[in-house]
């Protein structure tokens, strides 16, 4: 390979454990009797249901529509009847149930009418909306809506398109297997991306521990009528992180707090490219994906799984074993433990890793930090994890932010190398959540203060206006009296004018008095306070709903 590769700083090389699952062919997981399809499977607003309980739906039918530009639709993975729209256990780090649509499948697997898209003829904005309505989201891990990412921005073209086949996280092989068996479709999807982004340079980065995938992708690329570089990159976690893959292939770093399109490139996962090809060339929405089931199972392998399939069915298929201690969704570096295996496979489910005591012995107890800075050497974000740890532990979140806490990608390299076995990433997650909560409180307080100040200003203005009105009235009265002296005489006129003057002075004094004793929130009754609290709580909730995290980078682990 002639291309000069660059090295990102840090990284670790844990045991790969790829061979367990990447040798077996892809099996389609059987149709389950019940599909539980969450409405929030992507970054952005959750989809809004467009079906009702009792309604019959077809395979590929939209059952919940995208809500806003950063959102995607959700589809029925098979035909059947909607039996519930309610809270169900979902694979989410919070462990909390979320709104899902449950479909009792009828076994007929009957497709809704669908047709390929003539993407070259479509206006880019229409195509993006169409892809959003087909439920496309990044399959590398971050599940950012693909339609929104396929936007080159104001310049109209994004010179470099990177297809990420890094798959650096141990155990996971779904991208590897996808590249081995579906290289042509991946490249078809890539061609659509190239068209939409106006890219001239297309790079596919694949870790060099996947020689079969590299071969397969190279022979597929040779058939194309445009140049695609299939590049083997050194195996080093987290090379499959979008930022790290970018740096390896181009030497460019995405500036902190900016988007990759700002430096003229965009990164997509191979699975996303495959899903895009299915969408454009077949009109199929995203209703299935490849899932690696590996670890402590009899037959570790990859399944083609309908979204909404309960996780336990996959583990049964792969052959569950005694001594299972837990199941992770994702890999051992960034995955999350599943509190229940009733949770469904979602668009983000790349791997179910079954744990046993032998494969994943309990982590030793943490000792104090000795500032050895192995974490700093391993950190691909080039942070000083030992300092962040110190600040997070001390509750000094301001300093943690100064030391770029929010540039942490939570890849886990620091925790992995820590000789004191400190769960460092956990401390960073804690600090981040505390800062978010604090920011929320601060915004609420700012808002309350603004409203209070405006109220004071309004009251003052009303008082002044009232006083002015009174004074004007008195003036008018005096003028009126002065205008008819011949009729009534001068003496009463004088007396009236004096009266008017006194009235005006009284009004002024009153206005001044009410200024001196402003009604502020210190003197509210408990009822009023409670009312304010309730209003604030409602507002906070609404704001939170409106403000979804905007993750521009697709993480690919």
């Amino acid at each position: 390979m002639s291309r000069e590769l660059f090295k990102f700083k840090g990284g670790v090389h844990p045991p790969e454990h790829k061979a367990e699952s990447n040798g077996r062919p892809i099996h389609a997981a059987p149709l389950p009797r019940k599909l539980v399809i969450p409405l929030r499977q992507h970054i952005g607003n959750p989809a809004k249901p467009v079906v009702e309980v009792g309604e019959r739906v077809l395979k590929g039918q939209m059952i919940a529509a995208a809500d806003g530009p950063i959102s995607t639709a959700v589809h029925a993975s098979s035909s059947g009847t909607v039996t519930a729209i309610d809270l169900q256990p979902v694979p989410h780090v919070s462990g909390l149930p979320d709104l899902c649509i449950t479909i009792e499948t009828d076994g007929r697997d009957e497709w809704i009418a669908h047709a390929p898209l003539d993407y070259r003829a479509m206006a880019p904005a229409d195509l993006r909306t169409k892809l959003r309505d087909l439920g496309l989201a990044g399959l590398g891990g971050a599940v950012f809506p693909t339609g929104a990412k396929l936007n080159p921005g104001a310049s109209g073209h994004c010179p470099t398109l990177i297809i990420n086949g890094g798959e650096c996280e141990p155990w996971i092989t779904c991208d590897d297997v996808l590249m081995r068996h579906h290289a042509d479709e991946i490249l078809q999807g890539m061609a659509v991306m190239r068209h939409m982004m106006g890219s001239t340079e297309i790079l596919v980065g694949i870790e060099d521990n996947k020689p079969e995938a590299l071969d397969s992708m190279r022979s597929a690329a040779a058939k194309l009528d445009f140049a695609v570089e299939i590049i083997a990159v050194p195996t080093l976690y987290p090379s499959g992180g979008a930022k790290q893959m970018t740096e390896i292939l181009t030497g460019k770093q995405v500036p902190s707090g900016k988007r990759s399109t700002d430096v003229g490139l965009q990164v997509f996962n191979v699975g996303t490219a495959y899903a895009l090809a299915r969408a454009v060339h077949h009109g199929e929405p995203l209703i299935s994906r490849l899932v690696t089931v590996t670890g402590h199972v009899l037959r570790p392998q990859n399944f083609e799984v309908l979204i909404g399939t309960p996780m336990h069915t996959l583990i049964t298929l792969a052959g569950d074993r005694d001594g299972t201690t837990g199941v992770l969704m994702g890999g051992p570096m960034m995955g999350m433990p599943m509190p229940t295996l009733d949770a469904p496979v979602v668009k983000a489910t790349n791997c179910l890793l079954v744990e046993s005591k032998e494969l994943f012995p309990p982590l030793p107890k943490a000792l104090p930090c000795i500032r050895c800075t192995r974490c700093a050497d391993a950190c691909p974000a080039e942070l000083q994890p030992q300092e962040l740890f110190r600040f997070a532990k001390a509750g000094d979140f301001g300093r943690a932010q100064e030391y770029h806490l929010f540039d942490c990608i939570e890849c886990g390299c620091c925790s992995y190398v820590c000789p004191s076995h400190i769960p460092l990433v956990d401390f960073y997650r804690y600090a981040k959540s505390e800062i978010w909560a604090h920011e929320k409180d601060k915004r609420a307080a700012d808002l309350a203060r603004e409203r209070h100040e405006f109220r004071q200003f309004r009251q003052e203005r009303e008082k002044t206006e009232k006083a002015e009105k009174l004074a004007a009235k008195a003036q008018a009265k005096r003028a009126e009296l002065a205008a008819e002296p011949a009729v009534v005489g001068a003496a009463p006129s004088d007396a009236d004018a004096k009266k008017a003057l006194i009235a005006a002075a009284l009004a002024r004094a009153q206005a001044k008095k009410s200024d001196a004793a402003p009604k502020n929130v210190d003197h509210l009754t408990p009822e009023q306070l409670q009312q304010i609290d309730e209003i604030e709580a409602r507002r906070a909730k609404i704001r939170e709903l409106a403000r979804q995290p905007l993750e521009s980078e697709e993480k690919n682990t």
Binding site: L367, R371, E382, L383, Q384, D407, C418, P419
Partner: protein, 344 residues
Amino acid sequence: MPSPFILDRSSVTQIMAWVLAALLPAIATYVWLFGPGILVTLSLATVTALAAEAAMLKVRGYPVQPFLLDLSAIVTAWLLALSLPSLAPWWLIITGTLFAIVVAKHLYGGLGQNIFNPAMVGYAVLIVSFPVQMTHWAGPLELSSAPLTLAQSTSVIFGDDVPKSTLDAVTMATPLDSLRTGLLRQLTVDEVMTAPIFGRFGGTGFEWLAAAFLLGGLLLWALRIISWHVPLTFLAGVWLTAGFLHFYDAGRFGPPWFHLFAPSVMLGAFFIATDPVSGATTPRGKLIFGLSAGFLTMAIRTWGGFPDGVAFAILLMNLCVPLIDQYTQPRIYGGARKAKEPPA
């Protein structure tokens, strides 16, 4: 439990064990060239350190076993023992070790919390409080008329009442001390260094001890337990300062290789200045830390009141670590240097 769910096979115990292992070549050389007395000092310091560590953990309500097994107390004990004169009296060893473990380590919050290197605090307390006893260095065997056996060394160390004549017969001024007193007597460097205590680079025997520390240090570097930053800049600081002075006036300032090949410099550069807890953590900070400590070592040797300055130089630089770290924060991925607002 949150991610990640796997760990590299490293541990504090493993790191400390390697540090101890890296000291073994120097200990062997010590025994070979200076006699077995150092073994008594090492053992006494080790026992004292472990007892003090266990007692302090108990008092502070920490689990004793995991913290004793981290071996950090033994590392402190060995570093202090190797800094002390090999025939220092038993109470000196115990006092220094106690001070290192109890005051410098545990009263500052235990493992990972100490601002100063505990072994160097112990050493500094002893040299300030007991300067006479801190000169009980056994001379190299090749210059000694009657080398001490292990039993004799033990009785010298534990002897309540060692006749001064006995001590004088076996102890000897160190090369650095000889140079210092010679220069104070208005002799030139060349005149002083004709004495048999001066060897090829450093002192007779002492230069080989320094080489053994260097070997152990290189082992730690090869194992990635220490980085090159501090040792290299520390040695550079010593060598450049000594070289500049020697070049300026070779009659009044000792040659740079002589200063570099003192055991204290090699021990300090590879084993003490590299102490992660009390040293700088950023790459640039480590360079500043090492270079300044090297310079200060030479400054104290040349103009200070003690023949050697490694301990004070490192302690002074320990003091500067928070400042150094704060102002040498490296550039992060994506180039941000200034504080960033959190995303909405």
